[in-house]
């Protein structure tokens, strides 16, 4: 199977002063279609930077290819769910935030749009908040609408930056499950940043750990058998491996 996403020799420097350093240096990642890649790494190591480069929001050295073609800037084939709470358009209702990208990408039928908005809002547990404006939502609600907006356009690749960080355990688990379902059904390729090792193990079929200085410290396939939970065979070892590779030592959590 061909690679849908190729990151070749990616080097990123924000060039924001004389002493600015390379955040990422010569990074290489290949992803086949329908892979679910989880990226772990200490705070400030460059995870967000990496997917911003993939999404096309940053200048960088190196090449990012989608389906064999070099990308130039952002595109609807790689949808980003930002780490930022305030990524929804504040001038649009929750519903319209979801409908709008669909509309500009070809779904003109009003009923179809309403149906889709409803469907994805239900998916993230927000049926009933259609008419609210983003400033009327809680942090976690904003995050969920953003996820719904991103999923609704059915991108080839979805780039998610700690999308579940502000969600309670139950909502998070439900969304994890839904995300996996969608991934299979729609054949999406996912790059997913998380700080939660367990989440990474549950979701990813490939796991990357970045070091403090932005290098790939670990890049492995998740061979655990679904459904993955602490009782799954090999869970403990994998957990330990990831945890050990995360900078520093862990004796708790």
């Amino acid at each position: 199977m061909d690679k849908i996403l190729k990151v070749k020799n990616l080097t990123k420097n924000y060039k924001d002063g004389a002493d600015s350093v390379n955040i990422l240096e010569n990074l290489n990642i290949d992803m086949p279609e329908n892979q679910f890649l989880c990226v772990l790494g200490p705070s400030g190591c460059g995870k967000t930077t990496l997917i911003r480069c993939i999404a096309g929001f940053e200048d960088y050295d190196g090449v990012v290819e989608v389906s064999g073609k070099e990308t130039k800037g952002p595109g609807i084939d790689r949808i980003m769910v930002f780490q930022n709470f305030d990524q929804l358009f504040p001038w649009k209702t929750v519903e319209d935030n979801i409908k709008y990208p669909l509309k500009i990408n070809g779904t003109k039928d009003k009923e179809e749009l309403s149906k889709l908005a409803k469907e994805y809002l239900e998916l993230v547990g927000l049926a009933g908040s259609e008419k609210k404006y983003p400033h009327q939502l809680s942090g976690g609600m904003k995050q969920r609408v953003s996820i719904a907006r991103g999923l609704a356009v059915k991108p080839k690749i979805i780039l998610m930056d700690e999308p579940f960080a502000s969600l309670d355990a139950i909502t998070r688990r439900n969304l994890q499950r839904e995300l996996l379902k969608i991934k299979e059904k729609e054949n999406v390729t996912v790059v997913f940043i998380t700080h939660n090792i367990q989440e990474a193990m549950t979701l990813g079929d490939r796991l990357i750990v970045l070091s403090k200085s932005g290098e790939i410290k670990l890049d492995i396939h998740n061979t655990l058998q679904a459904p993955i939970n602490p009782a799954t065979e090999g869970y403990g070892e994998l957990w330990k491996k990831l945890s050990d590779n995360l900078e520093g030592n862990s004796d708790l959590y």
Binding site: A55, G56, F57, G73, P74, G75, I76, R78, I79, M80, F82, N84, D86, Q87, F89, P90, W91, Y100, P101, I104, N105, Y133, P134, H135, Q136, V153
Partner: protein
């Protein structure tokens, strides 16, 4: 509304103070008429002097000027956001042109357009396009990156990005620009009407003020200013207030 009450009290105190100043003869009465005189002039203006016609004529010019000014300011500011090259040029033009007083352009305008409404509208447009562009461009430049990136991510480019992201995201600045532009339009128009007037093709409220001033009819001047102020308040609170309520306030973008 509490606001309206405070404003009413303020206006009332102002009028009272004015009348007291008048009564005590602090200023020569020929230059400082009483509230009564001004009210009389106001009524007389409408009943006898055709103040309504002057007002409507000025309003028609202002609306034409505003329309052209708004369209151009948006068109150019949008272009400036889309194209970096154009940005360099337009930003430069705004800084330069905004400095040139309308009076100084009048001869050129007459040369280009002749002596008619177009010349006046040209000066009005010149009064508003630059400050409005300044507000719009600066507003566009300060739009939160995440909205622009979201927009681009979902496939918006060029004019669509401006229309659907830059514009609503900087709507507060745009409204500021419109308010400043609206005031500039009035001031520009009145100024030009006062130095460049014509009785034939229609005359505006600036001309009216000029006539009253020439005839040392100070009450008449204030009556005409009153007309401008009343129109201004209506536009501010009815039009701009309503727009604000249904946009930036509803969106939680301003207090």
């Amino acid at each position: 509304m509490k606001q309206a009450r405070i404003q009413l009290v303020f206006v009332a105190s102002f009028l009272l103070l004015w009348q007291i100043t008048y009564k005590f003869g602090i200023f020569p009465q020929i230059m400082f008429p009483s509230i009564g005189d001004i009210s009389n002039s106001f009524l007389e203006g409408f009943i006898e002097d055709g103040l309504l016609a002057y007002t409507l004529y000025s309003l028609s010019l202002i609306f034409k000027g505003m329309l052209i000014g708004i369209v151009l300011a948006f068109a150019f500011s949008s272009l400036a956001i889309i194209s970096e090259t154009f940005y360099s040029i337009y930003n430069f033009m705004v800084s330069v042109c905004d400095l040139i007083p309308g009076v100084a352009l009048l001869p050129l305008a007459i040369l280009w357009f002749g002596i008619n409404e177009t010349t006046v509208i040209f000066i009005v447009v010149h009064s508003i396009i630059w400050p409005m562009s300044r507000n719009i461009i600066d507003g566009f430049n300060s739009v939160n990156n995440v909205y622009i990136e979201s927009g681009k991510n979902y496939g918006l480019t060029g004019i669509n990005l401006v229309k659907d992201v830059y514009l609503p995201a900087s709507f507060n600045n745009v409204l500021s620009g419109l308010k400043v532009g609206w005031a500039r339009a009035w001031r520009g128009l009145i100024s030009v009407e006062m130095i460049f007037g014509t009785t034939s093709s229609g005359a505006g409220i600036g001309w009216y003020i000029f006539m009253k001033r020439t005839n040392i009819d100070t009450a008449g001047v204030f009556a005409a200013l009153l007309v401008i102020i009343i129109i201004g308040i209506i536009i501010e609170y009815l039009i701009f207030g309503t727009i604000e309520k249904h946009t930036v306030k509803k969106w939680g973008m301003v207090r």
